[in-house]
């Protein structure tokens, strides 16, 4: 199989930008990626979006001057952007295309004034269920099984908002105390609003092709949907899926979490980061809260997690998030993440989790390992 490199990345700003359409957001990311790659010669485009209207990819790409090639739109909930990247990598590896543009787009602020409206055809979505409640119940169960203090939960948000302060494109950033996190507006106990990623608009893109010396390389990528989840499942929602997908990447690359210099993971809610770093093997089961509170996952810690600010700080435009994570890791590995650079970073890992279908351990999880 052909090795794959990332030739260039680009993003929009992240945040509530109701004055910008999805095409407006997308062409900012695409033109930056083209400039970064030094070429606009792509053979195909894979686009990830969750709430985008029919034809959104073609409308967006028309404004960026990228037409007349195969355009494939994919939806995998919050993992839609990384799914587009994963499929693009697979297509280049197989020799199907020479160069691929992977693009994630989401314009949410014009659709939602509050929480995301649940999917009415889903048994749980139709029951007044939204993702904050899912993660809140994970937090409550996790606390019962392993012990978890509110302060440990809040330490995830404190770290990620501090990291976001070094990211000029991040949405929510600054210095927050754990007390401010915990006393912010309640959403679903024990989660408060500052423990929930914000409604966000944004786009992110990457141009990939056969490996070239000097470019960031894709060492491994894996994608799958969760198995059946429910009574009898040993762990909280998503844990088994993330662990299984990460294991596939570790086995394929011969590398483990201790070989990775930084992680961009799916912290849509504070408990999500704690569960994810355990599933990825950064620390043991039940130790994620104490591990985070110790500073081990800070930018200058032993295993930096979400130096971009993560979904909490950078923002979470659903379909764009995965490629925003890819762009961050690529810039980190090039030494271009000024203000939040992980010193000496040579390998980085992206993990994105998409959820929402009742009875499953997740709609999709994608894990990608990159190296300079």
């Amino acid at each position: 199989m052909t090795g794959v490199s990332v030739y260039g990345v680009g993003t929009s700003d992240y945040g509530k930008q109701p004055h910008l359409s999805a095409p407006d957001l997308a062409h900012r990311a695409v033109l930056e990626a083209i400039g970064d790659a030094g070429t606009d010669d792509v053979d195909a485009v894979f686009v990830g979006t969750v709430f985008g209207a029919s034809g959104i990819a073609q409308r967006a790409l028309e404004t960026a001057g990228v037409l007349g090639v195969p355009i494939v739109t994919v939806e995998n909930a919050c993992a839609s952007g990384t799914t587009a990247f994963h499929e693009g990598v697979a297509a280049v590896q197989a020799g199907r295309y020479e160069r691929v543009l992977a693009l994630g787009i989401e314009q949410m602020s014009t659709l939602f004034s509050g929480p995301i409206v649940p999917e009415a055809t889903d048994a749980e979505g139709a029951s007044g269920f939204a993702m904050p409640a899912m993660y809140a119940m994970s937090a409550a169960r996790y606390a019962q099984d392993h012990g978890l203090t509110p302060e440990q939960l809040a330490s995830v948000a404190v770290k990620n908002y501090r990291n976001a302060a070094g990211n000029p494109r991040a949405q929510r950033k600054g210095v927050f105390t754990r007390d401010q996190i915990l006393t912010s507006r309640p959403i679903a106990d024990p989660l408060t609003v500052l423990q929930c990623s914000p409604i966000s608009d944004g786009a992110a893109a990457a141009i990939i092709g056969p490996s070239r010396i000097g470019d960031v390389r894709v060492l491994g990528t894996s994608l799958r949907a969760g198995a059946a989840w429910g009574a009898g499942s040993e762990h909280v929602w998503g844990f088994d899926l993330i662990r299984g997908v990460a294991q596939e990447v570790y086995e394929a690359t011969g590398l483990g979490p201790q070989d990775v210099d930084l992680f961009e993971v799916h912290d849509a809610f504070t408990i999500g980061e704690i569960v994810t770093i355990e599933a990825l093997g950064l620390t043991g089961l039940g130790r994620g809260g104490a591990f985070t509170a110790s500073g081990a996952t800070a930018i200058d810690g032993a295993l930096p997690v979400n130096p971009s600010g993560g979904l909490l700080g950078r923002g979470h435009p659903l379909g764009a998030t995965g490629l925003a994570q890819i762009a961050e890791v690529v810039n980190q590995l090039r030494g271009r993440a000024e203000g939040r650079q992980v010193v000496g970073a040579r390998r980085g890992l992206v993990e994105t989790m998409g959820g929402g279908a009742a009875g499953t351990d997740g709609n999709a999880c994608v894990v990608v390992m990159l190296a300079s």
Binding site: G114, P115, V117, P118, A120, T121, D122, A123, E124, A126, S127, G128, F129, A130, P132, A133, A136, M137, S138, A140, R141, Q144, R185, P186, I187, A188, D189, P190, L191, A227, A228, W229, G230, A231, G232, S233, A358, G359, T360
Partner: protein, 120 residues
Amino acid sequence: MMPDDIPDPRPAVAGDPPAVLGQKCADCGHATARRVARCPRCASQHLNEDSWTEGTVWSTTLVHIPVGDRVPPYRLTYVDLADGPRVLAHQRHSGGPAPALGLSVHVVGINANGDLEVSA
């Protein structure tokens, strides 16, 4: 509330005492309160009709924001039905203290919003 023109995907309840209706796999024992063509866990087509009246609280949360047309605060609970599936339910008398995880609950029925409701 559900739109009138699509099938309601939420658990169905019938009987006295009220029971959640569903299917159970004869091969692996996996249970579901949704209609499935094959077992989601093992793909078997040997599915038997089943029903469940009680269970235990797997986890719970008090929701403070409006979601759809539900008026906050309201309590959502994942219930592991005895020898059955895990189902999402609304807790009757949701203004009270949070139920302990592991607490026994029973199926009450379907509330005014059409949601499955349980009580201790």
